[in-house]
């Protein structure tokens, strides 16, 4: 047998051994110097060991990692547990966590709503009205359906109130006036036929403009009866039967609202609230409610409202136009003595944005009373200029303060005065209001809200106060107590309602 004369026969074995030895030595050294990799609670001792360790300081201080990050929720006093999920978790676990939470009870079929009980009392004796200002119960049902499969971004909504109003004379339904046992609040369909156009058609609530309870370019119908009687603030806005086109291009939008038949305000006509009638020189109440002649021909007595709006950074601007009628009675038919709604056009502009630590706004509107541009018709309201400026800021924790200055300037006042029939008190040329809005949220979950809104008319020194306390007892039960307080001389704008000052309370259950 030939002996191998390989020099490496012995050396290779030695070299390998050396390399392996070095490797093993290094590895051992490294492993012994490394602190335990497993986070708190995941060492081989299992839950028992982790539990023992729990209140003590671990070798590595800090909270236990959350599930998902390698820990199982056990922490030490000084170290948070890692959340689960911070290690590689099996796909099934990840999917579980993505499942939506079980929903709490809600009605099926996209239904929602509330049931409410509301009562109010007059604070003063009003000979023309009952002592009880409000005694009603209301059930509101809403059906809301998103239907993208029918039409692009389609949505349909129905909101109706079933009302039992103990103070109403009769319960006949008048959908236009909102009277009777059923009030249809919303009944519309919306869709987006092309990318840049949103359309909404049907009975809907519409609002624009920057005023807070003061309206210049918002000529959509208001319900002043509900507002003064103490119903929920939502009811200040009466629904419009209209079609709205909203075009959008970049930062700018154009809204066009066509109302085929004039929608008047639900104004104070004496049936529920008395007012001062300049014609008779006295309070007028439920014994002699206002009689009116309303334009009501479809497509002839129509309204068109327009708004161009946009924003420059955080500053919002708007330009407005309207053609239609005065929304509340603003004239008298000399033959019949009935109150009328003369033709009106309005043009305006607004601006709103951050000012210092708060939000500032300014708005302007010119009311063109088309039937009496010269101002010499005593039976038709004169044209006006309206101006508003406001500012709102949070002044303390959860306490917000808003102030506004509003000016209503009668145009052609001289002609108005000259043509005023004898015995009629002349209205001032400028009506100026200051308003104050205070809102405070209290208690740990902000469930108590105190608010106070004050209108003050500077020239005539009359005022209207709206204090309110609302408490969210649970997620579904809400109670509120408030008042409508009118002060001033009888022939002033707010003072005329002095006998209507009332307090009210309500309980509402939402579902």
């Amino acid at each position: 047998m030939k002996r191998s004369k390989n020099k490496y026969k012995d050396h290779p074995v030695t070299a390998e051994k050396i390399v392996l030895l070095i490797f093993v030595a290094l590895w051992t050294a490294v492993c012994s110097a490394q602190p335990p990799r497993l986070p708190q609670g995941l060492d081989s001792g299992g839950p028992a060991k982790a539990a023992r360790k729990k209140p003590e300081q671990g070798s590595s201080g800090g909270p236990a990692l959350p599930s998902g990050l390698g820990g199982e929720g056990e922490g030490t006093a000084s170290q948070p547990a890692l959340p689960s999920g911070l290690v590689k978790e099996p796909a099934s676990e990840m999917q579980d966590r993505q499942k939506p939470e079980p929903q709490p009870f809600s009605l099926p079929l996209d239904l929602a709503g509330f049931w409410e009980l509301r009562g109010g009392l007059r604070l003063q004796d009003d000979p023309a009205q009952d002592d009880v200002s409000l005694a009603e119960t209301r059930l509101q049902l809403t059906y809301d359906k998103y239907t993208p499969e029918l039409i692009s971004r389609g949505r349909f909504r129905f909101t109706g109130d079933m009302i039992y109003d103990a103070m109403a004379e009769n319960h006949d339904v008048d959908l236009e006036e909102g009277e009777g046992f059923f009030d249809l609040r919303e009944f519309w369909a919306a869709f987006t036929p092309v990318d840049f156009l949103d359309v909404k058609v049907g009975r809907q609530i519409l609002t624009w403009g920057t005023g807070n309870l003061v309206f210049l370019n918002d000529l959509f119908p208001k319900d002043y009866q509900s507002f003064f009687l103490g119903r929920q603030l939502d009811y200040l806005k009466a629904p419009s039967d209209a079609i709205k086109f909203a075009f959008y291009s970049g930062n700018v939008g154009l809204d066009l609202v066509y109302t085929p038949r004039f929608d008047a305000d639900r104004f104070v006509n004496g049936t529920r609230l008395s007012f001062f009638d300049t014609a008779s020189g006295d309070l007028r109440g439920e014994d002699a409610p206002l009689e009116t002649e309303q334009p009501d021909t479809w497509f002839e007595d129509h309204e068109v409202a327009l708004r161009v709006h946009g924003s420059l950074e955080a500053y919002e601007w708007g330009l407005y136009g309207y053609t239609g009628f005065w929304k509340s009675p603003a004239g008298t038919d000399p033959q019949t003595g009935k109150r009328i709604f003369p033709e009106l056009s309005a043009y305006g502009a607004s601006f709103r944005g951050p000012v210092g630590a708060g939000i500032g706004n300014a708005e302007f509107s010119w009311y063109d009373s088309r039937e009496d541009r010269d101002g010499d018709d005593p039976f038709v309201e004169n044209s006006q200029l309206r101006f508003l400026t406001g500012y709102e800021q949070e002044i303390a924790e959860d306490l917000t303060l808003g102030v506004q200055y509003y000016l209503e300037f009668m145009l052609a006042h001289h002609a108005y005065e000259k043509n005023l029939p004898a015995g009629f008190p002349a209205r001032e040329k400028a009506r100026q209001w200051l308003t104050l809005d205070l809102n405070q949220e209290l208690l740990a979950q902000n469930q108590l809200r105190l608010s106070l809104f004050i209108f003050y008319s500077t020239a005539t020194k009359d005022a209207y106060l709206r204090p309110l306390a609302a408490y969210d007892a649970t997620d579904r039960w809400k109670v509120e107590v408030g008042a409508n307080l009118f002060m001033g001389d009888r022939d002033t704008f707010f003072g005329q309602f002095e006998e209507n000052s009332n307090v009210y309370a309500a309980a509402r259950y939402g579902f």
Partner: protein, 288 residues
């Protein structure tokens, strides 16, 4: 049999490589390569608030008061970063920590259902966020004047600032400890008169840079408020806190937030965060 020298060399390299693999992480762990505190803060901010370029989630908020009574808030939140090019920020998308926009559509409780809250978050130090509230029953777009971000968000124990993120330049940050799991930071406000805490500590997970716990201390050094990340997931591979808790240590009340149906990079257009979509909510992102 003759040994192949190549084999020796290969074995030697394998051996050295394996040893090195054990050594290098250990060296990093020993603290030799701890990142600067500014880098940690920036990275943690990104992980917590800037995952993906946009996102949506369904949120279930349970508010428990000190007597154990429970309230809930359910809403969908949409978020979009103002991308580079839209702002003057010139960082690349992956490192973006600038302005964002949020859109919150409430689903419950019933009296806030369909109400929308929208925020344009500005990170510039002197610029306040812009906020809007849309009240559907009045069709009213209200502008909210609120300069204090450290007030309760919808009655919960979370503040607005917790939801949208506290600007990292508002505090002085100090790395006070490094454990195997966490970077522990102590943060002191630059303007102490604007906040109710004297300082706060953050435990940031070393591997993922996710803030796991934040504790707030009052003037006496007592912890009075604590945030904890409880559950974490990786939808689309992006680290997301799916369950978190904010405790009021003084009263014992707490709020737990659970996120579900989390999606990122859905391609949300910027104009969703404008008046158009306050009045007409983008149901395609909200209904899931």
């Amino acid at each position: 049999m003759r040994r192949n020298p190549a084999k020796i060399i290969i074995i030697a390299w394998i051996g050295l490589f394996t040893a090195a693999a054990g050594v290098i992480p250990a060296a990093a762990q020993e603290g030799g390569k701890t990142p600067s505190v500014e880098a940690i803060v920036e990275h943690a901010n990104r992980v917590a608030y800037y995952q993906g370029q946009d996102g949506r989630a369904d949120v279930d908020m349970r508010i428990i008061d000190s007597q154990g009574r429970e309230r809930s808030r359910r809403f969908t939140i949409l978020r979009r970063d103002n991308r580079p090019g839209e702002e003057s920020d010139s960082k690349n998308p992956a490192e973006y920590t600038g302005d964002q926009r949020f859109y919150v559509y409430f689903k419950s409780p019933p009296d806030v259902s369909r109400t929308v809250f929208m925020v344009w978050k500005h990170v510039a130090p002197d610029r306040e966020d812009d906020r809007w509230l849309y009240l559907p029953d009045l069709d009213l777009v209200k502008r909210i004047a609120a300069s204090d971000e450290r007030t309760s968000f919808v009655g919960s124990h979370f503040f607005y600032e917790d939801v949208s993120g506290r600007n990292t330049n508002e505090d002085d940050h100090e790395l006070v400890d490094v454990t195997d799991t966490y970077f522990v930071l102590d943060n002191t406000p630059n303007e102490p008169e604007r906040v109710e805490f004297s300082h706060f500590k953050m435990w940031i997970h070393r591997v993922t840079y996710l803030p796991i716990q934040i504790e707030y201390y009052d003037e006496r050094g007592q912890a009075y408020r604590r945030y904890t990340a409880l559950n974490v997931a990786r939808p689309q591979g992006l680290l997301t806190v799916t369950e978190s808790k904010m405790e009021d240590l003084r009263t014992g009340g707490h709020t737990t937030i659970t996120y579900s149906q989390v999606e990122y990079d859905v391609g949300m257009p910027k104009d969703i965060f404008t008046e158009r979509y306050l009045r007409k909510p983008p149901m395609q992102h909200i209904k899931k």
